[in-house]
Amino acid sequence: MPMYSEKVMDHFMNPRNVGEIKDADGIGEEGNPICGDMMTFYIKVKDNRLEDVKFQTFGCGAAVAVSSMVSEMAKGKTLEEALEITPSLVAQELEGLPKNKYHCSNLGAQALRKAIRDYAQKKGIKIEGLEEKGEEHEEGEES
């Protein structure tokens, strides 16, 4: 039985929104190469909406798929809406992640949050939902 769902493999094989935004409004980094996965998110904001989201990822198939899925989920959303994206929602959208991959690979939502925080700090603005929810790790669920 393959380790990953078809959805994960699709996002791994055809990742959406890979790359860097040169004049990004916010940048967020999460993870570290020692644990195996590292993600950088770049956002472009227009009228409080994520006009563009791009990412770079060092990591396994799940890490790439998570990043791709988060970028797709976030694009076009308002900043407040984007902050509602949680690791468990991402896993759900990916039709499940292997349990042992849940914690280390599922960092996309946190990286995106950091990019939004970076934007808010640069602009000196407050965004609802930015500070309330920390970068807590949620419990894994079996795929």
Partner: protein, 399 residues
């Protein structure tokens, strides 16, 4: 997605397991339906089964230069290692409680000695150098009066490095301790002789040299006390109870016989293919290091770390191209820890993440190697294009 059939299927994971050779399978088949007696039975069915396992015992002994009565059949290399480490340590407990192993041992040795440590034995883990080599003098420096057992593997399955066992043996013998070597990755693939190596016990497994899974052995020098892992009957001289797996043991014996016959030609062919693979990949992919020793390595083994990317991602993309390999990256291990072997060799975690391990076998040919050398570079490029580490590296390079 993975729906398109790959152009070619190339298996390069022979250290995970080898296929069973047709001659081995042929040899095994009669022992399921025709000669199915229990070797311990006193009737003719039992006699026939006993006769064939004794033949296999002689074949396996011949492969490692020991005597047939020194061979104990087990179910796996892991069992042989457990039996060696725990059985020898407990057998020598009157002399002392200190055990030495290397940092790059297989988990069946490392976890076995950790279990012994919890039971009151004392453990020293000796380091390796950047090639994965154990320094015999470092072993000597750590030997104490109460050292009863040293266990250092013959060859490492992850990086292919072959240890200087004969040199280590001199130091261990001077001190009067026992030396076990986990020769699972090497036996059947390179010459292994228990007397030339100077060991007291040696583990081997059939599925590393074209025999079946579930058949392995521990060779233990005569008159050395070995406490069994299991209690039971008199099989294997009481050292390993349980009804013998006759077909698998026959397969192990046949694989041993073929390994003796074909070893020189296999080694020549595989080392040529290996060198072609190493040269091809190191030329085609920059920022890639060969892990393990350049010359003191298994002839069918090539292992690398590709910088800035991660092994599992490479493995998945290679799999889609029909290529089967392994990786020691944290993401590919169920425990999500980087390979203890690469870390012990001083390779930084982020580089160890890019581990890729190729092991070749008799069914491989030059076209297989050409195929891998063609397919891997674009995979590496593709993953580097999305890697933040590579982006940083390129930026820093540009200044």
């Amino acid at each position: 997605m993975g729906t398109a059939k790959p152009e070619r299927r190339v298996y390069l994971d022979y250290v995970a397991t080898t296929p069973v050779l047709p001659e081995v399978l042929e040899a095994m088949l009669p022992y399921f339906r025709e000669v199915y007696g229990n070797p311990q039975s006193l009737h003719s069915w039992g006699d026939e089964a006993r006769e064939v396992i004794e033949k296999a015992r002689a074949q396996v002994a011949g492969l490692v230069g020991g005597s047939p009565e020194e061979i104990v059949f087990t179910s796996s290399g892991s069992e042989a290692n457990n039996l060696a480490v725990k059985g020898l340590a407990q057998g020598q407990i009157a002399k002392g409680k200190h055990i030495i192993v290397s940092a790059v041992e297989h988990f069946s040795v490392l976890n076995a000695v950790r279990t012994l440590e919890k039971a009151g034995f004392e453990l020293t883990v000796v380091p390796v150098d950047k090639y994965g080599l154990v320094d015999p003098d470092e072993v000597a420096r750590n030997i104490r009066k109460d050292t009863i057992l040293v266990s250092v593997m013959h060859a490492n399955g992850e990086v292919g490095t072959i240890q200087p066992i004969a040199e280590i043996s001199k130091r261990v013998k001077e001190a009067g301790a026992l030396l076990h070597t986990d020769a699972v990755a090497s036996t059947g693939n390179i010459p292994v002789n228990v007397n030339e190596l100077g060991v007291d016990a040696l583990s081997l497994a059939a599925n590393q040299f074209y025999g079946p899974k579930g058949a392995a052995a521990l060779w233990v020098r005569k008159r050395i006390r070995l406490i069994p892992l299991m209690d039971g009957g008199v099989q294997e001289g009481g050292r390993r109870p349980g009804t013998e797996n006759v077909p698998a043991i026959v397969g192990l014996g046949k694989a041993a016989e073929l390994a003796i016959r074909d070893m020189p030609s296999r080694m020549e062919k595989l080392s040529q293919l290996r060198d072609k693979l190493i040269n091809g990949l190191l030329t085609a992919i920059d920022h890639t290091i060969l892990t393990g020793h350049l010359t003191q390595r298994l002839p069918h083994h090539a292992s690398f770390c590709v910088e800035f990317i991660e092994g599992e991602a490479m493995l998945l993309l290679l799999n889609i191209q029909g290529i089967a390999v392994s990786s020691g990256s944290a993401c590919t291990s169920r425990a999500l820890k980087a390979s203890h072997v690469l870390i012990a060799m001083g390779i930084p975690h982020e580089i160890a993440q890019g581990s890729l391990l190729f092991s070749l076998g008799v069914d491989n040919n030059e076209a297989d190697i050409d195929y891998v050398v063609e397919k891997l570079p674009p995979i590496v490029d593709r993953l580097r294009q999305m890697s933040p580490l590579y982006a940083k590296f390129i930026k820093e390079k540009r200044g």
